[in-house]
Every structure is written in structure tokens, then in C-alpha cells.
């Protein structure tokens, strides 16, 4: 009897085991029911906050805190309007000094440091130039480049971080009206603030994605967060990246804001040296542990172009960068090459940025 009993029960046990294994396999790898997303519009783009946490009430509170952080940063750093930077710009454009908060002074110091490290490729004081090109507003609809003389006149005295001086309380223009525009920095700042807000709310695993630029913390539940990098010219992805805890993934591309005139694309990433759209690159993706600095670096490398980006990356402390050139080729730092899975057929060339390279 005993053997017969075993014969009847062993398959049942195996069935139960198979079902448990199957359920475990699917549960572990399938969509995580503890992951929730909130979307909203801010900074002129769509923001998505994705949180993985078991406590729904905590998740909701944290998402609200992240949203508040982004909206406050947006208000403070908008170059126009009633926020702090808008008020500062109003006075700077009138050639007058303006009072600034300690927080803004700290960011001005950091932005100036980054600008100098980039050799001036990243410059947060191009507000007048950006407006001249018509890239300052969602409402503007530029159709053609501004006259050369107007660009030249602005570069003479009206653009550049070194045309501003500040102390612990005030900022002033040193050679005529200048306007700040942190468009290549403020989104990163907002993402960093949102991540800080999430952490303060007790969240350990999340992604804050603001219009395609993002920072991830923690993981996706037993694996890294998976990030798809869109191709700058094709419909689809150029690369896949696994974001580690704290990674920011920022891309600057010539497809975000542009117009075409006489068959040529004029985009919003302006070279502070020429006052015109930078040429040679279609997109730059940077991974860094600080979103604001990743944001600034992506712009700086784009402006530096095929000839100079390696040195600028090295000076700015950027180890992970990928550039898609105008001819479609891809250049990557060696560490970036190890981190990304290239999904496009374009030839990819690892390029050393270390001094020994």
C-alpha cells in the first residue's frame, strides 16, 4: 500500500512544486504591482514620477512632494515672470543690480564653475541671445535666423556669465543689459530637488523623468531600472542603459526645438562663441550622479562638437557620454561603451577621455 500511496502523491507534489515554481517565476519578473506613476505638466514638458513602494499612501504623499519641488523650481528659475529669476532678469535687462537669495547665489556659483570647466560651452547668461533666436518661449515661432549684425552686437556686450558680477547679496551686469537663462540646467536642478523630496518622504526606489531627462534611485525590484535612449533621427531607440542607484541620464539633441530655413536646421543649442546653433552633433547623452551637472554637461559636449568634446568631458568630470554625430556615427567614452547596449546599426567608436587616452 505504501508504494501505491507514494505513486499517487509524488506526481501531486511535483504538480504543486511546478505550480509554485511557475508562479514564483512569473511573479518575480512580471510587472511590479507596487510600482505607480504620476504624470503632470511642468517646465513646459511632461513630467513622470515613478515610485516603487509597498505603501500606497506614502507613495502618493511622496509623488505630491516631488511635484511640489519641481513646480517650485520651475517658478523660481523661469527666466520670465514673477519668480525670482524673472524678477532678477527684469532688473539686469534694465542694466540695474538685483537682490538674490542665498540659494540662487549658490547655484550661480556652481553654474559659473561649470561654465569655466566647459571652456564657456555651457553658459547660463545667454538669455538675450536665446530670445533673439526665438527659442525662449512655447509661444514664439521663429521662421528664420536673426541678422548677423544683431548676433554680433549681442555677443559684444549682452551675453556671457563673465558679464555679470555678484556678491553675497546682489548681482549686477558689468557691461550692459544681460539676461540669465538656466534652460540647460534648471531641469536637472528640478529633477535633483524632486529626488531629494522623494528620499525625504521615505522612498528608496523611483524615477523622475522630466521631458525625457531623468534620475533614478534604487532599483526596479531585483534588477536595475531599464532606460531606453531614443534615436535622434529614427523612430525607435538607439541604446539601452541600466540606471544604477542615483544615476541621472540626460540627453541634449537638435530635435527638441528647431526650425528649418532654406533647407537647414536651426536648433536651440546655441554656441556661446558664435551665437549660432552648434554644429556637428545631433545628440549627446550623459550619465552622471547629479542631474543639474548632467544637464549642463550634455549641453557643453554638444556645443564642443566632434573635435573638442573629449577634453570638455574630462574637465567637467564626465565619464559616461555618448554622442551621435551629424553623419550618424556614434562616439562613446570607454565606460559608457561598457554600460550601454547599442540598438542601432550605426558604427560606434569608443573614445578615450582620460588623460592617458
Amino acid at each position: 500500500m505504501t508504494p501505491r500511496f507514494r505513486q499517487r502523491t509524488r506526481p501531486r507534489r511535483r504538480t504543486r512544486l511546478a505550480v509554485i515554481l511557475l508562479a514564483g517565476t512569473l511573479w518575480g519578473c512580471g510587472p511590479d504591482s507596487d510600482t505607480r506613476s504620476e504624470q503632470f505638466f511642468a517646465m513646459g514638458t511632461l513630467v513622470e514620477v515613478t515610485i516603487r513602494a509597498a505603501d500606497a499612501a506614502r507613495t502618493e504623499r511622496a509623488a505630491d512632494a516631488a511635484r511640489t519641488a519641481i513646480e517650485e523650481t520651475d517658478r523660481r528659475w523661469s527666466p520670465r515672470g514673477e519668480g525670482e529669476l524673472g524678477r532678477v532678469n527684469e532688473r539686469l535687462l534694465a542694466g540695474r543690480s538685483a537682490a538674490v537669495s542665498p540659494e540662487m547665489l549658490a547655484e550661480l556659483d556652481r553654474a559659473r564653475r561649470l561654465s569655466r570647466l566647459s571652456g564657456g560651452r555651457f553658459d547660463p547668461a545667454l538669455g538675450r541671445l536665446i530670445r533673439l533666436w526665438g527659442f525662449h518661449s512655447d509661444e514664439a515661432d521663429p521662421q528664420r535666423p536673426p541678422p548677423d549684425e544683431a548676433i554680433g552686437d549681442l555677443l559684444e556686450t549682452g551675453a556671457g556669465i563673465d558679464r555679470l558680477a555678484w556678491n553675497q547679496e546682489t548681482i549686477e551686469p558689468v557691461s550692459g543689459p544681460v539676461a540669465l537663462d538656466f534652460g540647460a540646467y534648471a531641469k536637472g536642478l528640478a529633477v535633483d530637488r524632486a529626488v531629494t523630496a522623494l528620499r525625504e518622504a521615505g522612498i528608496r526606489h523611483a524615477i523622475v523623468n522630466a521631458g525625457g531627462d531623468l534620475r533614478a534611485i534604487g532599483d526596479a525590484g531585483g534588477r536595475a531600472w531599464r532606460v531606453g535612449v531614443m534615436h535622434p533621427r529614427k523612430n525607435g531607440f538607439i541604446a539601452a542603459v541600466e540606471a544604477r542607484d542615483g544615476d541621472s541620464v540626460f540627453t541634449s539633441g537638435d530635435y527638441e526645438r528647431y526650425f528649418e530655413y532654406e533647407g537647414r536646421r536651426y536648433h536651440h543649442i546655441l554656441d556661446p562663441a558664435t551665437g549660432r546653433p552648434a554644429r556637428g552633433v545631433t545628440s549627446v547623452t550623459v550619465i552622471h550622479d547629479n542631474a543639474a551637472e548632467a544637464d549642463a554637461a550634455a549641453t557643453a559636449l554638444f556645443v564642443a562638437g566632434p573635435g573638442d568634446w573629449r577634453g570638455v568631458a574630462r574637465r567637467m568630470g564626465i565619464r559616461d557620454a555618448m554622442l551621435v554625430m551629424e553623419d550618424g556615427t556614434v562616439q562613446l567614452t570607454p565606460t559608457m561603451r561598457e554600460r550601454v547596449e547599442l540598438l542601432d546599426e550605426a558604427p560606434a567608436e569608443p573614445v578615450a577621455t582620460e588623460p592617458s587616452g
Binding site: A18, P31, F41, T45, D138, I207, A216, R226
Partner: protein, 120 residues
């Protein structure tokens, strides 16, 4: 000792697990459904298996979205720079296009997502 019943049970289990993995890791990241949302409160869900053109009211007016050959895109929206339209066709699960001035989003979903988030 393995008996025929054991083999059947294990084969079935392996088959189902394999199918699960195929679904998750195979080419099942193509989107199946498009969800269109407006800040005005309206939400539309469309199957990507049937071609269609729909309009949804945003804060400035109607945005028009076209579904065709398993893809979706903005074809018209009351914005100035046409960023949403220039984004072109979306086909991957998880892909998102948005018209920020009009407050309308287009998001694709599928059986599984290849990526948790998208950088551009």
C-alpha cells in the same frame, strides 16, 4: 523513478514557464493600446490593431491622434512649435508623446515593457 505522468507534468510546467519567458523577453514589447489623456479630464483608450483618427479636447482646443499599422502619433495640435507632431510615430510599449501647451499626452502600452522609462 520517473513515470509518464511526471514527464507530462514537467513538460507542461516547462512549456508554460517558457511561454511566460517568451512573452516577457521575446518581441512582445510592441504596443497594443494607446491611451490619450487631457488635462481637461478626458481619457481615450484605443486598440492599435485598428486604424483610427480621434480628437481629444485639450486646454487650447482639439489634438488629433492617428492610429495606423500598430503605431500612433499626433497629427495636429493647437501648439506653436509642433514638438508633439515632430515626434512622429510611436510603436514601442512605454513610448510617450505629449503636447505640453495643450495638456494632452499619448502613451502606448503592451503586454510587457522593454524599458521602465525613456530618455530623449
Amino acid at each position: 523513478m520517473i513515470r509518464p505522468g511526471d514527464v507530462v507534468v514537467l513538460a507542461l510546467a516547462l512549456g508554460v514557464v517558457g511561454a511566460g519567458w517568451w512573452q516577457m523577453l521575446g518581441d512582445d514589447t510592441r504596443a497594443r493600446v494607446a491611451t490619450i489623456r487631457s488635462v481637461e479630464g478626458e481619457t481615450r483608450e484605443l486598440s492599435l490593431s485598428r486604424d483610427a483618427t480621434v480628437e481629444i479636447a485639450g486646454r487650447r482646443g482639439p489634438s488629433r491622434i492617428r492610429v495606423e499599422d500598430g503605431r500612433a502619433r499626433f497629427v495636429a495640435s493647437p501648439c506653436t512649435r509642433d514638438v508633439c507632431i515632430r515626434q512622429g510615430w510611436l510603436s514601442a510599449a512605454g513610448a510617450v508623446a505629449a503636447c505640453a501647451p495643450n495638456g494632452v499626452t499619448l502613451r502606448l502600452a503592451g503586454a510587457s515593457r522593454r524599458f521602465d522609462t525613456i530618455n530623449f
